[in-house]
Amino acid sequence: MVKKFNIKTWYIIFTCFILLVLIFPIFALGNSANLSFLGMPFIMVWVLFWIIVEFLGLLVFVILDKDVEE
């Protein structure tokens, strides 16, 4: 029970973190049109980068999450 609570709490923290990096004020760090990776503007690379981080994070949660009730 204690472990389940922990995973959920971490998940909520993780969700908020991904949300916060994608909205202002933190998003201001990525808010630049300078060309970077593959010729895309930095602002776009920023969004893509965090989406990939989100996927990897979710992957960890899905693996750690043991409550398979089927």
């Binding site: 959920k8 998940y11 909520i12 969700t15 991904i18 949300l19 994608l22 909205i23 202002f24 004020p25 998003f27 201001a28 808010n31 630049s32 049109a33 060309l35 593959l38 010729g39 895309m40 503007p41 602002i43 776009m44 969004v47 893509l48 965090w50 989406i51 990939i52 989100e54 996927f55 979710l58 992957l59 949660f61 899905v62 999450d65 409550d67 398979v68 009730e69 089927e70």
Partner: protein
């Protein structure tokens, strides 16, 4: 054969395939079971879930509106990627809970769950009405997209009205007969087709019109560097609006009844695995934005009636040399609009049958209720079709407008699952006030404080009212015990 004939042929072939898959999906299943029609007997596999949920975001909005936003609003269009990536994250927490509750108490709609939790029929009807009011403009949007694609790609040989009617007709028939399973399996096909088309087009237009991504963005920056940033002078959107759009869309996403009820179609583990792949779906949307950026400097602004027409313009002016590619693109664009339409008409029909008719006339038999749902597929389609033909509005405004109302359901759902003291009176009054405030700032006042999304202002007031009434009320022990069942699940 001319390009438009190939396109027409491709679209017809596509329609026939989608139609057959949709119809075949329902074969061998009980035609007279509500559980089958509404939630596929709660047995959807992972593969279907992925494409069912994926197909829903690849809507006409993404396919026509996405390039339109990139073309006219620049960096603001990144909002689409952000909300798709974030939209399903809350489902990881609430989806499995709702799935277990649904299985235990045999729910098929959001109203079933909220009505049971808060013990209020009035709330169920309100939810039913709010959903229908949001579904209809959403569907209208898809129908407009379908008619427009048919009309433009066949160079006016098929009229807008007929094109829309044909595509919608196909959707209505397979949804009415095969229910959620028809929508799901045709979505698998539609989502795959759309993905391929989006990538081929995105890469093709960037390469053929600009040579490379760097070149393309370089030109845009040379012209107006702030076009690719947010909240600066020369940017097309303020930072408050951008951020609040994302927050509202994220909270509202799973509150769409047609998404929420998908919790009932599968198991907790599969829900989590569906959430996992959603960021990947968001990444798949990237080329859709490239299409819009590629049009900058190529498509003259005064050539378009609305920014949403930028993709069809590019296709008809810069893609006609290859007849086959042109045809496949037409089919892909149609698939995008249809894969959302089926989920929406299905969702609206179930809401209407269960949350409105069944609550007002509790003596309805399962059989009658099911026929009402099937009839509602036709009815909702007809209403949205009329609005699409006789009414008109900006493509995206419509969708965001509906989002503002849908997100107001969120406090009822979250507190229903996590807060024992939340009361029927509190959530109902909060919901109604939230919708009124949102509508006021959106349509009557015309602007909102700090340029925030009107839905966020409505939501704040909604939560304050919900929380204060729930706290002030005295709750009976039985009520709290009943509520605990939902929280401890």
């Amino acid at each position: 054969m001319e390009a438009w004939q190939i396109a027409l042929l491709a679209m017809f072939i596509y329609l026939i395939i989608a139609f057959s898959i949709g119809l075949a999906a329902g074969r061998g299943r009980s035609f007279f079971s509500i559980s089958e029609y509404a939630v596929g007997d709660r047995g959807f596999g992972l593969f279907v879930m992925w494409f069912l949920m994926g197909g829903i975001i690849f809507s006409a909005f993404a396919f026509l509106g996405g390039p339109g936003w990139a073309y006219s609003k620049g960096a603001a269009s990144l909002y689409i990627l952000a909300y798709c990536a974030l939209g399903l994250m809350p489902w990881y927490i609430i989806g499995p809970k709702v799935a277990r509750l649904g299985k235990k108490s045999n729910y098929i709609t959001m109203g079933d769950f909220l009505g049971d939790r808060y013990n209020s029929k009035f709330l169920v009807i309100i939810i039913g009405i709010v959903s229908l009011l949001a579904f209809i403009p959403y569907l209208t949007l898809q129908i407009k997209g379908m008619g427009y694609i048919f009309n433009v790609l066949t160079f006016d040989h098929i009229s807008y009205n007929n094109g829309a009617l044909l595509a919608l007709g196909v959707v209505v028939v397979y949804v009415a007969t095969s229910g959620v399973r028809g929508a799901a399996w045709s979505d698998v096909f539609q989502a795959i087709l759309m993905l391929i088309v989006a990538w081929v087009l995105g890469i093709y237009f960037v390469e053929s019109l600009h040579g490379s991504l760097g070149n393309m963005f370089g030109k845009i920056i040379a012209d107006n560097p702030e076009f690719l940033t947010i909240g600066n002078e020369g940017s097309k959107i303020s930072s408050a609006r951008y951020s609040s759009n994302i927050v509202v869309s994220m909270l509202g996403f799973v509150m769409w009844p047609h998404l929420f009820t998908k919790s009932y179609t599968t198991t907790a583990r599969r829900i989590k695995l569906t959430v996992l792949v959603y960021p990947i779906f968001a990444l798949f949307l990237l080329p859709v934005l490239f299409i819009g950026f590629a049009a900058i400097g190529v498509v003259p602004t005064d050539a378009l009636g609305r920014p949403g027409e930028v993709l069809p313009y590019l296709i008809t002016h810069h893609l006609t040399e290859s007849g086959i590619l042109y045809g496949i693109v037409g089919a892909g664009a149609l698939a995008a609009a249809m894969s959302s339409s089926d989920a929406i008409t299905h969702g609206a029909s179930v809401s209407f049958g269960r949350d409105i008719c069944k609550v007002i006339f509790p003596s309805l038999k399962e059989n009658q209720e099911l026929w009402i749902m099937r009839g509602a597929v036709v009815g909702v389609g007809a209403i949205a079709y009329c609005i699409a033909i006789y009414g008109s509005d900006g493509l995206i405004k419509l969708l965001l407008g509906a989002y503002g109302a849908i997100v107001q359901i969120a406090p009822a759902v979250y507190s229903g699952l996590f807060w024992r003291r939340a009361s029927a009176l509190g959530v109902t009054l909060g919901l109604i006030t939230g919708v009124i405030v949102t509508t006021y700032f959106q349509y009557i006042h015309g602007s909102s404080p700090y340029d925030l999304h009107p839905g966020l202002i409505g939501l704040t007031i909604n939560i304050i009212i919900m929380a204060s009434i729930s706290l002030l009320q005295k709750h009976k022990a039985e009520y709290l015990a009943h509520a605990s069942k939902f929280i401890d699940e």
